[in-house]
Symmetry: C2
């Protein structure tokens, strides 16, 4: 009982650190924000901050992870609101793009300021890749179960889900760094059209 | 006449600078290679190097551009060797992956050492995105002409080519940073299967 209360207090402190750090990172960037700044903004000493995180990069990773978790929760909500598997895939892609646009400033920091921490980002990326492939697999399985998609063997289901996920990642990449901002939504729709075509009944 | 000879001599010098720099970058990385090192390795003074390139980053970009041009030439040769549009697309994807593996060391340098030059890389990337979309468009047009693919309106041809290109980019990304090295080629085949399915006659 005591230990669960203690954990919860730690969690609250962690949340307030991440809140404060997120604001500072957004406002001043990673390079210009110090552990001192973060500690000061939550009215604590630097040493008590080190109890929770050893470096500001660790805090930054925690900020990014929370952002990504929020994006996934939003996306899951949007997916649940749709009846067909195809429209679940479609809103997933649109919703991911919208979340990404909203959070673009954070992603820019990550790209420009964290080259030395590329391995950490790859690890976060890998975790989310797996979550995303799982999400797509669930939607496709749902579509198969509902008779909307053709039946697929277990290994083909994994393969197709991976192809979908990779293609959607390539799309996000193009939408972020490419020149498609003007017709992003029709490109998203076209991508889903192409991907879904082969598995439709 | 004179000016064309002069240009050609300049081109030769540029090529020898790029050759030398490429070896040094591969061996020591970008950070540890200086303009001095590059000049010395071609038996010239630093000042004559500055006549051609203002910074080592400019030279690095020239190295990367030449690499990418070589990759494209290889890919074009491989595409020309195939008879059907589907197999052209398939060998294009496989060949790109193989070239990328071969040149991985160069790409690693780019990622780790050139964060400050991200905009330069985005510009190079954008140029090659356009070349790649054009390449895919040509293959699909060839497939339509030969009666292998369904006919597409001009705007749908562009859209589908963009979807294909983005999906293949997402695939390359997954193959580079993901955990698919073991079954890369079946994932490439599956991606082409999914992409081609919808436009086949």
């Amino acid at each position: 009982m005591c230990s669960s209360v203690a954990v919860s207090k730690d969690d609250l402190t962690r949340a307030s650190i991440i809140d404060a750090a997120q604001k500072l990172f957004r406002q001043f960037g990673l390079a210009k924000t110090t552990m001192e700044d973060i500690a000061r903004s939550i009215g604590k000493g630097k040493s008590s901050l080190y109890y929770y995180y050893s470096t500001k990069e660790d805090i930054f990773v925690a900020v990014v992870e929370r952002e990504k978790d929020l994006i996934f929760k939003e996306i899951q909500g949007v997916i649940a609101s749709q009846k067909t598997a195809e429209s679940k895939l479609r809103v997933m892609a649109h919703s991911k793009y919208k979340s990404m646009l909203k959070r673009m400033d954070m992603y820019n920091i990550a790209q420009i300021e964290l080259p030395d921490h590329l391995c950490v980002f790859k690890a976060i990326g890998k975790r989310y890749d797996e979550i995303e492939i799982e999400l797509v697999k669930n939607i496709i399985s749902y579509g198969i179960e509902k008779g909307e998609f053709k039946s697929l063997s277990k290994s083909n289901l994994t393969l197709v889900s991976t192809v979908f996920t990779n293609s959607l990642k390539g799309l996000q990449f193009a939408l972020t760094f490419g020149e498609y901002a003007g017709n992003a939504h029709s490109l998203i729709d076209a991508t889903i059209d192409v991907l879904v075509h082969g598995i439709k009944k």
